[in-house]
Each structure stands twice: as C-alpha cells, then as structure tokens.
C-alpha cells in the first residue's frame, strides 16, 4: 500500500488521513442541513471524478455526462418501481446500459474522426436527444416523471437504499472513496500512461504504437460506467425523476464545473472543486437571504462572478495551486535503484 501513495509527502498523507477521519465523523458533527450539503458535495465529487477519467486523463471533452446519470437513474428506478428489483441489482443493469451508451457515442465519434469541439457538441446532442426521447417514453412516466414510493423508514434498509440521510451519506462517501482509489490506480496503470499520451498529442501517441481508438473507447466506457452509480444513487435519494431535469444540459455542466475549477487531470481536483463550488453555492444562498437579497437569480449571478474570477486567476484549476502551497506532493519522482 505504501507504493500507492508514494507521490504524497508525509504531510500530504497526514492531511489525507485527517480529512478522511473528518468525513467519517461528519454525521455526528453536522446538522441535517449540513449533511444534505455534504451529500450533494460528494455526489459532485463522484461524478466529477468519473468525468475526469474521460477529459482529464484521456483528453476527450464530454459535455453530456447527464446522459449517463439519467440513463442509470431511469434503469434502476424503473426496475424498482415496475419489478421490485433492488438498487444494487439494478446497478448491475444500469452500469452496463451507461457503458453501452458511452460505447455508441465513442464508436461513432472516434471511428468518424470527430474530435475536439465537435465531439463535445456530439455528446450534448445525444443527451438532448435522450431527454426529448424520455419526455415521450410513457413506460417510465414521460415528461410527467417517475416516482419511487416514499415512506418514513424507522430503520435503514441498505439493501433497498431506503433510509435516512446518514445512510445515504455513508453510501456516497464510500462510492467517492472507491472512485478515488480506482482513478488513482487507473492513472498509474499502463492504460493511464497511454491516455495521458493521447491527451497531450494524439499523433505522437499513435507513432509510439498506441491503439488510440481502443484507448479512447475504453476511456469513454469506463467514464460512463463509473458515472452510472451516481445515477442510481440520486434516483433512490430524491425518489423522483423528470427527463427535463435529469438529462438537462445544465446538469451536465454542473458535473464538469467541479473538476475544471479543481484541476482537470488531477486526482484531488474533482473533489476539491466539488467542495468549493457546492460550498460556494450554499453559502451564497445563506448570505443572500441573511442580507435580504433573496431575489431569484441573485445567487446564481454571484456564483457566475466567482466562477469567472477563479478561472481568470487560476485557469489550470485550484488544486495545483493548493498542492504547491500545502507542499503535499513530493517534488522528486521516485527513483528505482538499478
């Protein structure tokens, strides 16, 4: 295990352990409101990491990740509502569905050499297409929405994901941690090196013998599949699904703001970005209602202005800057004795 954390300094490991301990203790320290905010933060940390695999590692800009969240939500919710299939088994269906959707988009784009901005627009297009499709898909409620039965649960039912926020908090915390470990392992793997090579210069990567089509396909499929559990989670957490909301372009943008603000391609960027943006958004809300400026839109205007400042000041993201300030990464690359 020590090898896994070799690039962290002692200080970095201490901070990491402290953060983890704090997150584990959070439900005992925080009130209900703060707990729901933390759940939202972890949701964005999770989806941000999944998106980061595709863009941050392999350099393929997706602006349509709400598609994978939405598909997974609908698959798991429909299985539960229609057939009484629990979320964990639903996950076994939802993840492959998202992977297949990613594979279709990836195949069409990469086979036909659609890249850059065009690829990004293609991903938006598929998400929009699916949104309108689900609006008219009456089996899952169409535009009227799909609802999971809500009732007061005295005990937490982890098998069917029915319970109080504390249970949901630990579920999404475990998911986020798992995604982080997976991303870490991926980035250091053979595949991770190939992805980064493609991200930096695709022609040079091909000249080094890398099958770029195959690597990009794997990136899209892993990213889509890793996004799916977040969809299952939200379906069971919020208990309602509307195509207009889950497949909305705004949802896709929310997913990617965190990792970009945090630092694209870094392991902590998506997590830090989620804390910063959701924290900002919520504290803005509190501040404005305290000031009595609770006009619709005011909060989002300030949010947009803050976003603008961050991207102008730190265009590479906040994490690289924080990492330098905190000295949490080792300067030296580990050297193996010959």
């Amino acid at each position: 295990m020590t090898g896994l954390f070799s690039e962290l300094s002692k200080r970095g490991i201490v901070l990491l352990v402290l953060l983890l301990a704090l997150m584990l203790a959070a439900p005992f320290l925080a009130n209900d409101y703060l707990l729901t905010v933390l759940i939202l933060i972890l949701y964005f940390a999770f989806t941000g990491q999944a998106w980061n695999v595709m863009m941050g590692f392999a350099g393929q800009l997706s602006l349509g990740h709400a598609l994978y969240v939405g598909l997974a939500s609908y698959v798991a919710a429909a299985l539960f509502v229609r057939f009484g299939v629990g979320p964990w088994i639903g996950m076994l269906v939802a993840v492959p569905v998202a992977v297949i959707a990613g594979a279709i988009i990836g195949f069409l784009a990469f086979r036909f050499r659609v890249g850059g901005v065009y690829f990004a627009i293609l991903t938006i297009a598929f998400a929009e297409f699916t949104r309108v499709g689900f609006d008219h898909f009456s089996y899952v409620g169409g535009s009227g929405g799909l609802f999971l039965p809500v009732s007061q649960y005295t005990s937490n039912d982890l098998v069917n994901l029915r319970g109080n926020p504390t249970m949901f908090y630990y579920v999404i915390l475990a998911m986020t941690l798992g995604a982080w470990l997976l991303c870490r392992w991926l980035l250091r793997s053979r595949l991770g090196y190939f992805w980064q090579a493609i991200r930096e210069d695709e022609d040079a990567a091909r000249a080094l013998g890398i099958d770029t089509f195959r690597c990009k396909m794997i990136a899209v499929m892993i990213s889509a599949g890793l996004t799916a559990p977040a969809g299952v989670f939200t379906a069971f957490y919020y208990n309602n699904l509307f195509p207009e909301q889950v497949f909305n372009m705004g949802r896709s943008i929310e997913i990617i703001l965190g990792p970009i603000i945090g630092g694209v391609g870094t392991l902590f960027g998506p997590i830090l970005g989620a804390f910063l943006l959701t924290g900002l958004s919520e504290s803005m809300h509190e501040l404005l209602s305290w000031l009595g400026l609770d006009v619709p839109g005011a909060k989002a205007v300030f949010y947009g202005i803050c976003l603008l400042f961050v991207v102008v000041a730190l265009p590479d993201g906040v994490w690289p800057w924080v990492a330098r300030k905190l000295k949490v990464t080792e300067r030296k690359v580990t050297e193996r004795k010959p």
Partner: protein, 247 residues
C-alpha cells in the same frame, strides 16, 4: 556497398503519393539493409517528409509497396507500423508537454513492457544514453529545443525499434549540439546495430553518419549512392547542393 547479400530490413518499391494534383512522391524505390545508416536528402518540398509519412503509416501510398522485415506495411496505420518495429520522430517535435521527460519515455517503453515499473527501468537506460537522465523530472514542455529533439529520439528509441526514422533531428541545433546528436546516433548504431533512416538538411551530419544517401527532387529520386558519389553527382549539385556545399 555495405551489407551486400543480407535481406533488406526496409524495401520501398515504386511508391507514389499524390495530393490534390501534386505528385509529392513519384515512384521512389530503395532498400535499407539491416545495421545501416541511410540518409534521404533533397531541397524543401522534395517529398522527404511525405516519404517518411508513407513508411510510418500516416498516409497510404497510392501505388507501390513498402516491405519491412519481410512484411508488407504499406497502408497500415501508424500504431501498427510502430508495433512491427519502426520508431519515428517528427520534424516539428511533438513532446507530451504536460508530462515529465521520464513519463514521455515511459509511454514509449510501455509498448513492449507489461508493467510501468519495468518500463521505467528501460526508460532510465534510454534517458542515460540520450543525456537526459538528469532532466527526467522536468516537464517536457519546459525543455529547450536541443533537449526536445533528444527527447523525441529517446521516446522513439524506447519502443525498441528495429528501424529508427529520424525527421530532421538536427534542424535548428547549434554545431556543438549537432555533434552531440551525431555522436549519440553513431554510438547507438555501432553498439546496438540499430538501423537508422534519416532525413536531414545539415550536410555535415549526413556526411558524418550516413553510409548511403538517396537524393529526392520534386518527389523523384535523382541520385543514390555513397556520400562521396552523391556529392560529386552533377544533377545533385545543380538541383540541391548548389555551389556552397561542394567545397
């Protein structure tokens, strides 16, 4: 002629390629025996880089055949050409700027190594050979041009090629840097028997390295032979070398 009798490692036969009306490469044929340093020279726009791109798989030839190590490789995509043992550099260097020097070379080394640790060991050996070991933790984007040129060679070399295609790796280097590169390439060829095909403008490097030279002009071969033969060839002098290079 060197290495007579041995089967050629690379054989190019009657290869042509046309771009919207312009015949960039016109029925070029040559063969490179194993272990040789073979140079392709010619004025700008002679079709040298296009010829390289045809061998490396960036374009497919319109006609003609390219045989490498006994297999036809004409029309194969670049990654498959590389996997068969052809490493290449780019005329305009293409480092992975956000990765460190070491990571750049590890990417190449991973082609024939299953895990990152062994690839890193191999990358270190290659970096030492190219005088880049001390700079391995720097970001490739921060290197100077001579270092980038050597990184380009290191990365290609890390894929364990049988044939190394070098596209103007001396261009833009100062004479001392050129000599350093010439020394590195000559040692590589002598010590490992690596076959090298290079495109080069810097005649002093060509004369120091190549045992055989092919001269292209307007896409077609106008001369071929040993360096001494080629520089005395009237057609070469007239079309390319001009007065300055003859003394």
């Amino acid at each position: 002629m060197t290495a007579s009798g041995a089967a050629p490692l690379l054989k190019v036969e009657g290869v042509s390629r046309r771009f919207t009306g312009l015949l960039a490469v016109d029925r070029v044929s040559f063969s490179v025996p194993p272990g040789e340093i073979f140079a392709v020279i010619g004025p700008n726009g002679a079709g040298k880089t296009t010829l390289f791109n045809l061998i490396a798989g960036v374009f497919a030839p319109d006609s003609g055949s390219i045989t490498f190590d006994g297999d036809a490789i004409g029309g194969l995509p670049p990654d498959q050409v590389c996997r068969r043992g052809v490493g290449r550099t780019f005329q305009i260097v293409k480092p992975f700027p956000g990765l460190t020097v070491e990571e750049n070379v590890v990417v190449g080394a991973l082609l024939r190594r299953p895990d990152v640790d062994t690839a890193r060991d191999h990358a270190h050996a290659v970096l030492r050979r190219l005088d880049l070991f001390d700079k391995r933790t720097q970001k490739a984007g921060a290197l100077t041009l001579p270092d980038r040129k050597r990184l380009e060679v290191a990365r290609a070399l890390a894929t364990d090629p049988k044939l190394l295609l070098l596209d103007e790796v001396m261009a833009g280097l100062r004479p001392t840097e050129t000599d350093r590169m010439v020394g590195i390439l000559r040692d590589l060829n002598r010590e490992t028997g690596l076959t090298i095909l290079l495109i080069e403008h810097v005649m002093r490097a060509v004369m120091a390295l190549a045992s055989h030279i092919l001269v292209l002009h307007h896409g077609a071969t106008i001369a071929e032979g040993s360096p001494q033969q080629v520089v005395r060839d009237p057609a070469v002098i007239q079309s390319y070398l001009g007065a300055e290079a003859v003394h």
